[in-house]
Symmetry: C2
Subunit: 393 residues, 2 copies
Amino acid sequence: MADCLCTPTRVLLGRGAEDSLGEELRKEGAGKVLIHYGSRRIVENGLMKRATDQLDALGIPYIALGGVQPNPRVALIREAIELGRKEGVDFIVAIGGGSVIDSAKAIAYGIADRSCGDVWDFYTKARTPEASIPVGVILTLAATGSEMSDSSVISNDEGQLKRGCNSDLCRPRFALLDPELTYTVSPYQTSCGTADMMMHTLERFFHPGPSFSLTDDLAISLLRNIAENGLKALEDGEDYEARKNLMWASSLAHNGLVQMGNGGRGDWACHQMEHELSGMFDVAHGAGLTAIWSTWARYVCSADPARFALLGEVFGLSRTGSDTEDAESAINAFEDYFRRIGMPVNLHELGITPSDEEIDLLAEKAVFFGKRKIGAFRILGKEDIKEIYSAAR
Amino acid sequence: MADCLCTPTRVLLGRGAEDSLGEELRKEGAGKVLIHYGSRRIVENGLMKRATDQLDALGIPYIALGGVQPNPRVALIREAIELGRKEGVDFIVAIGGGSVIDSAKAIAYGIADRSCGDVWDFYTKARTPEASIPVGVILTLAATGSEMSDSSVISNDEGQLKRGCNSDLCRPRFALLDPELTYTVSPYQTSCGTADMMMHTLERFFHPGPSFSLTDDLAISLLRNIAENGLKALEDGEDYEARKNLMWASSLAHNGLVQMGNGGRGDWACHQMEHELSGMFDVAHGAGLTAIWSTWARYVCSADPARFALLGEVFGLSRTGSDTEDAESAINAFEDYFRRIGMPVNLHELGITPSDEEIDLLAEKAVFFGKRKIGAFRILGKEDIKEIYSAAR
């Protein structure tokens, strides 16, 4: 089986990238645009006006809908789909971070869905999306990599569920990455973003089957740069090079590059366990991931200690000759790093203390009520998941 | 100014990738295909039949035209354009290496050219291509990266000229990369390919303006993997991992990834000097590049010795504290490596001994008869170029 990489997103990286919005929409032949966003911050700081001025200048009509929350809710998405259909929207511009982009992707599936069914079906896997209207992005938060990825993750308050849908159909047509737009991202969100892109790389690093040295090397370079520049951005939020590094790293960590030749898929158990935490407790995605990762790592490490040992290169650790020892050192180094950027390394530090009953329910949801197992580097059933959640408390 | 990356090529990497040809053409809606190739080797070894069987099974009509030479000639391209127009070809499948793909791209520009002018005009920059019919690739030689790149380079026997044309229009729609198809590539061609992809990375590494650490790190990882796996493929032509590494590296070295954030362009003086050598002496591209590179490097090194010193990481050199010394060590290490894989590091080793008059003519052609200078890391005029050619003898 050949691995596939498909990254059609046209990326502009650098100061003023957002000023190409009009030109990109013109090239794409956008007829009517929905501008989708989160808080009113982009209205207050003038970014919205800089965007709409470009559409006005080209005579491209648009409507705007904000209010996307972190862990974007399907309720707003359903509303946007109805609005978009009524208004004849044929292009969505997401201005924001991963939540806004993921919400935009869901809306794009919904508007293009000829059956007019419920968009949530795509996220429960009851149906597979067959079409999408195009999406473009002005990124304001470096984290999820949704600006180039095939992935969209949304939440449903009904059942406290967080579910993802992957399809090349939803990869954005263009992504405008101006590092200066992330200067005002708070230290906490900078850390969550740093953690998120490290985890996207790590999830792919732990794949089943033989490894491909070129991709491993690229992944380690990526992790090292994320780690170094995450610290720099925390020291000085207006460090242009650091913000630029994180912005481009977020895209590369999730566009598929670091899984190419490694079987084309990763482990993703930590993501699946985090989705249940977010669904139940509405935690920040990056923080939810680091709160689980080292416990997961120690639980599965024996499957291939050499793989974990290799990760020591990210932090320049020297090798002792024992893979098991070096694996433990590498896991400790990641844990130390996460703590250094203020990220939790267990559920207590994440601020939640799930009861045994809650842990049972979290595990039950993670295995889709008995319908699946999770993980690929090491496959995990409900009992494994319960043990990991418990040990992470 | 923001840097732009646009890599729409759908890449399949792994054993049997070529068996997806039919499926990819179906997805693309190909109506009538021109299969373009070089020598009859692909007919004799059965690859052609494996390709055409897939088209036959789907009822996709096709014609085939072989005979592409290294340094593909515009004469064959003109013939193919006429044939393609007459036959109503709307998709070209290139089966081969860089020469075949570059020839296919030129044909694709020509068939789509409404003015029906001479395709050579796009390569002299007299005209800019405005359209292209789509191209897909089955790769049989890892070297030029044309399978993902925006570049096409062809030769004209009239005037002994070799010229390139760059446009996102010509990026292939898909690239099918089966490492096993390169098992029979000769040691000499394996070395030329290894050199070519290293040079594509190096040309981009030497850019004007400030550097971007993430891209620098990825470039160094790429160079290290190319160097290691070039040696392995020479030791054992059927080393799957080595062939896979080289195949994917050839694409990454030339698809734009390793210039992202570094101003989006590189130096390219060595390529331009090599183009004139190839035009006049018909040398192998990779060998022509290594025959020039170290002389160029020493000539321009003083512009930024630290940049050359950084390259020592490719070969694990330790630093002395002096950028100038470390730069010279890094250049020497590249020279040693090129010699180790049997590549020339001067014109004599390349097998040519241009006279002073020929060097004057080479330099005159390189500056387009006084119309341009070359290089960007350090800009070179005709006298500089003459000095480099002379010192490289």
